[in-house]
C-alpha cells in the first residue's frame, strides 16, 4: 500500500527536498504552497500523514493544523519550523497541544526526516 504524505510549505526548496526524500522511499507526495491550499489538498487527497510548516503566508501553520485535526483527529502531523520565532517554546507548546506528533527544526537531515515519517506512520 502506497502511503500518501501531504507537504505544506511556502518554500519551494523545502517542498522539493522533502518530496525527493520521500519519493525515494516509495511514498506518494502531495505538496501545497500555503495553509489554505494545503487544507484543500488535505480534503482532496486524504493523506496518511501531513507535514506542515508553522510560519506561512495566507494561512498560518497552526491554523492549518487546527483545521486538519478537527476534521481528522487521528491524522499524524509533523510540524517543521524554521527555527526562528516558530521555535519558541510557546509556539511549539501550542503545536503539541494541537496534537502534532513531531516537531522538526530546519535545516534537517533527509535520512533522519525519513526515519521520523516512517516512525509516525508505523505507530
Amino acid at each position: 500500500m502506497i502511503r500518501r504524505v501531504l507537504v505544506i510549505d511556502d518554500d519551494a526548496g523545502v517542498r522539493e527536498t522533502i518530496k525527493q526524500t520521500l519519493d525515494e522511499r516509495g511514498y506518494e507526495v502531495v505538496t501545497a504552497v500555503n495553509g489554505a491550499r494545503g487544507l484543500a489538498a488535505f480534503r482532496d487527497a486524504r493523506p496518511d500523514l501531513a507535514v506542515t510548516d508553522i510560519v506561512m503566508p495566507v494561512m498560518e501553520g497552526l491554523q492549518t493544523i487546527r483545521e486538519m485535526r478537527r476534521e481528522r483527529p487521528d491524522l499524524p502531523i509533523i510540524a517543521i519550523s524554521a527555527g526562528d520565532r516558530a521555535a519558541r517554546r510557546d509556539f511549539l507548546e501550542i503545536a503539541r497541544q494541537l496534537g502534532v506528533r513531531e516537531i522538526v527544526v530546519k535545516p534537517f537531515d533527509p535520512d533522519e526526516f525519513a526515519a521520523l515519517v516512517e516512525n509516525c506512520l508505523a505507530r
Binding site: D9, D11, G13, V14, E16, T17, I18, Q20, T21, E24, V55, A82, G83, D84, R85, A86, A87, R88, R89, V105, K106, P107, F108, D109, P110, D111, F113
Partner: protein, 586 residues
Amino acid sequence: MAPPLSSIADEAAMGGEAGEIGSRQVSLATLRAGRRERHMAWAVVIASALGFVAAIPFVRLPLAKIPAFIPSYESALAINDLITAVLLFGVFARLRSWALLVLASGYLFDALIVVVHALSFPGVFAEMGLLGGGPQTTAWLYIFWHATFPLFVLAYAMLGHGGGQQSVDRLVPMAVTAAIGSVVALVVAQTFMATVGHDLLPEVMRGADYSMVVTKGVSPTIWLLSLAALLALWRRRNASVLDLWLMVVMCAWLFDIALSAVIGSSRYDLGWYAGRSYGLLAASFVLVALLLETNGLHGRLAEARSRLEIRVRERTVDLERSAEALRREIAERRLTEAQLLQAQKMDALDTLAGGIAHDLNNTLVPILGLTKLTMKRLPPDSREHTNLGTILQAGERARDLVRQILAFSRKEAPTRLRVDFATLVRDSLKMIRASIPATIDIAEAIETVPPVFGDPGQLDQIVINFVVNASQAIGDRMGTISVSLTAAVPAAEEHGQAWVCLSVRDTGCGMDEATRQRIFEPFFTTKPVGEGTGLGLSVVHGIVVQHGGRVTVESSVGAGTRFDVYLPAFADNEQRQGIEAAEAAQ
C-alpha cells in the same frame, strides 16, 4: 547698633577697595547714634553740668599756684588732640567727607595751638614764656584757640554728612597735606599776632587777672561761638555717633570757658583749674569714642575674617564633594551609555537574526538535503560526489552560524535548575577532549563546590566555549589549558553570597589591551574571515550575566589568557525555598 554682617564681610573681603565698590562704610562718622549712645551722652552732659553748678560758688576761690599744671595738662591735651586729628584724617581718607577733613584740621589746630600756648605761658619754661611777646601774649593765644576751634566745629556741622560721592581718591593725600599746611600757617599767623603784634592787641590781662576779657566782651563772644557750634550740631539731622560726642565736647567746652574765662577771671583760682579739667575731658571724648570704634572695627573685622575663612573652608569642602559626585556620575553615565550601546547592538542583532534565520534555514534545507540525496546517487569516488561533499560542508557551516546567531539573540528565559557544577564541568571536558588537538594538555583541578542554579545546556556552553577558545589561542603548538573550579570566598559587602569560580587558563598567544576590551562584543573576532563568527564569547558572556555572574579576563600578548567566570552559588536555604516555590508555581 551692629551693622549687618554682610557689609562687614564685604569689607573684609575687599580690603581697602571697599569704598570704590560702593559697599556701605561702617564708621562712627556715619553710624546713626542709637538710644544707648544718646543716653550715655546725656549722662555725661548732666554729670558735667552738675559739676559745673557745684563749682560756680567757688569759682573765685584762689588755689595753690602749681606751675607744673600747665605743661602737664597741656601736653596731655596736645597729645589727645593730635591722636584725635590723626584718627579723623584716617576716617576722612576712608569716607572722603570734606566735613571730616575740616574737623580733623580743627583737632590738629587745637593740638598745635595748645603747644604754642604752653610755650608762651609765663613762669613755665621761662619767666616771661619762651616765645617773647608780652604779658598779653598767652591770654590772646588762649582767646584765638578758644575762638577758632568752635569755628572748625561750626564748619563741620554746616558741611553736613556729605562725602563719598566725589571721587577724590587721588585728592586724599593732597587734601590732607593742604589741610595740615593751612592749619600750621594759621597757628603760625596767630602766634605772630600774639607775639610780634602784641602791642596792636587790646589789653586783656593785668598780672594774673584777666577779668578784662569778660568786661571787653571777648570771652562771652568765644563762649557764644561755642554755643553756636553746639546748636549747629544739634540741628543736624540723623546725628551720627561722632556728632553726638562732638556735642558733648562742645558742652564741656562751654563749661570750660564759662568757668575759666567768664565767671572766673584769674589764673590758679578754682574756676581756672576746673575749667581746664573740663577742657581735658572735652578733648578726650572724641578720642575715646574713636579708639573704641577702631577697636570694635578690628574685632568685627577679625570675626568677619574668621567667619569668612570658615565659610570658604565649608564651601571648599562642598565643592570638592560635589566635584567628586560629578565625577562619579560621569563615570556611571559612561558605563550606562556603554551598556545602552551594547543593548542596542543586541537588539539590532536580535531583529536581524529573527529576520534572516527563517529564510536562511529554509534556504539551507535543499542545500543540505538535496546535496545529500544527490550524493547517494553518485559513485563515491566521482568528482561530482567530492564536490557535493564540499558543498555539504559549507552548508553545514552556514547552518551552525545561523544556530549561533539564533542562540545569541534568543531572549526567552532559560530554564533554571539546581546544577552540580563540578560534575557538569567534568562531563563537558570529557566530551570536548576529543575535539581538542592532542598537542594540547588539559589540566583539571575541579573541587567540590556548592551547586549553582541555572540552565545546564547553557552552563555546558560556557565550559565548551572557553576551552575551545583557549585551544584556538594555542593553535598548532604545544600548550596547556588549565581548568579549575573553586568555591570563591564571599566578600563582606556581598552579604554572605557565595560564589563558584571557573577558571580557564591557556598558554596561548594572549591578547593586547584593545582586544581584551572588545572580547565580549558580538561579531568581534581575531580569527581569519570564515573561521570564527565572533559570537562565541559574547554568547557566553550573555549567559553568565543572565545567571547573575560575571567574567574577568587577564591577558597579555605572549603570556596566555585567563578567564575567571564567577557564578552565584546556590547555597542559601531561603533562596532555595524561594526558587522551589517559584518552580512549584509554574
